[in-house]
Assembly symmetry: C2
């Protein structure tokens, strides 16, 4: 197996943390997004959507999209379970993970990619170039901030987001918070429950991945 | 069990088709999005993200987000499997479903919600009001059209999107194509493989759900 990775990007980091929690040591190949390597013909043959991460299996099958990769790894290496133990737990994990992707990750991505000069004409990831939209940067900032304020209320009296145990929802939330720091936005600001939770999850060894 | 539903909205329809494929007959409660019922305090207690669909279990547990609901239903009623039979198949289904959500569903939602007068100040679903952004409408139209052009190439020689069998990825794609018709955009236009596939899946009895 091999992971097509990008050290700095948030989505590959979600997979790296997921692997670290499971003590999986899978070879990684860095894809240089800054140089546009993901837009090359060679990389399009691996993922026509021009995105990282991609997990390549030994038979050559390629799996892109974080949820697909992590679900596959959960089957291959179940311990520790990061999607819950039962159908009910799995539903809660997927629900929180989807919410975090929709308002958290997408909101911060809108903010970052429509603001930083490095993303000029790359306002959204993928195959095409799109111009930055300043209104979208503002909306993304508001949307993600409002979401993490709601998440703070949810975390009152809780150690983890979806279950009584660490799950992929915690990974997604931690990565989004660190992604927002690209623009010095602290999503935990004024949110004591979120701060307590973040202090705890970000000191796990896997957080360095 | 009960499904909080909205007949016209695309995401609840994905769940209704999923249930119809499995012959599940679950009571539905209509949520009147046009009247803002999803923004009421009563509905926020069911889903603080103010979105449909939500599946309420008999013990009162609520599950929101299409993927979480459908994964739960797949465990409760496995036949026919709509997420694949093996870890490898499941990864392909989730990969294609995520791609369809990212460029297909999100793209069409950007186009529709930033264009139609009925979505004035509701340019994105959820808890907050956001103004329409005309540039985002154009981007969403381009993004979804470009994605379905790529999907047409993928469908060459294939009967279904992710597997040799119908899956949730086919449901998502069909619902997105029908959603785009709100603005008379035909995503199958000029795409013969997509047209053949759409003719086939849209005549399944579940498509009426």
């Amino acid at each position: 197996m091999k992971l097509y990775d990008c050290t700095r990007a948030p989505n590959p980091r979600r997979v790296r943390i997921f692997m670290a929690e499971k003590n999986l040591d899978i070879p990684k190949q860095e894809v240089d997004l800054a140089k546009g390597e993901h837009l090359s013909d060679a990389y399009r043959a691996i993922n026509p959507e021009c995105a990282v991460p991609v997990l390549e299996l030994d038979d050559g099958t390629t799996i892109s999209e974080v949820l697909a990769i992590c679900t596959y790894l959960e089957s291959m290496a179940p311990e520790p379970l990061l999607f819950g133990k039962s159908a009910e737990e799995r539903a809660q994990v997927l629900m929180w993970n989807s919410r975090l992707e929709y308002n958290g990750l997408a909101g911060v991505a809108e903010y970052v990619r429509n603001t930083l000069p490095g993303f000029k004409d790359r306002a959204i990831s993928g195959t095409h170039n799109y111009a930055q939209i300043p209104e979208l940067a503002e909306r993304g900032k508001h949307r993600s901030t409002a979401y993490f304020d709601r998440l703070d209320q949810h975390l009152e009296g809780r150690d983890f987001i979806a279950l009584d145990a660490f799950s992929i929802a915690d990974i997604t939330a931690m990565v989004v918070i660190d992604f927002a720091r690209w623009l010095k936005l602290d999503l935990t600001d004024g949110n004591p429950n979120l701060q307590r939770w973040y202090q705890s999850v970000s000191t796990r060894p896997s957080a360095k991945a």
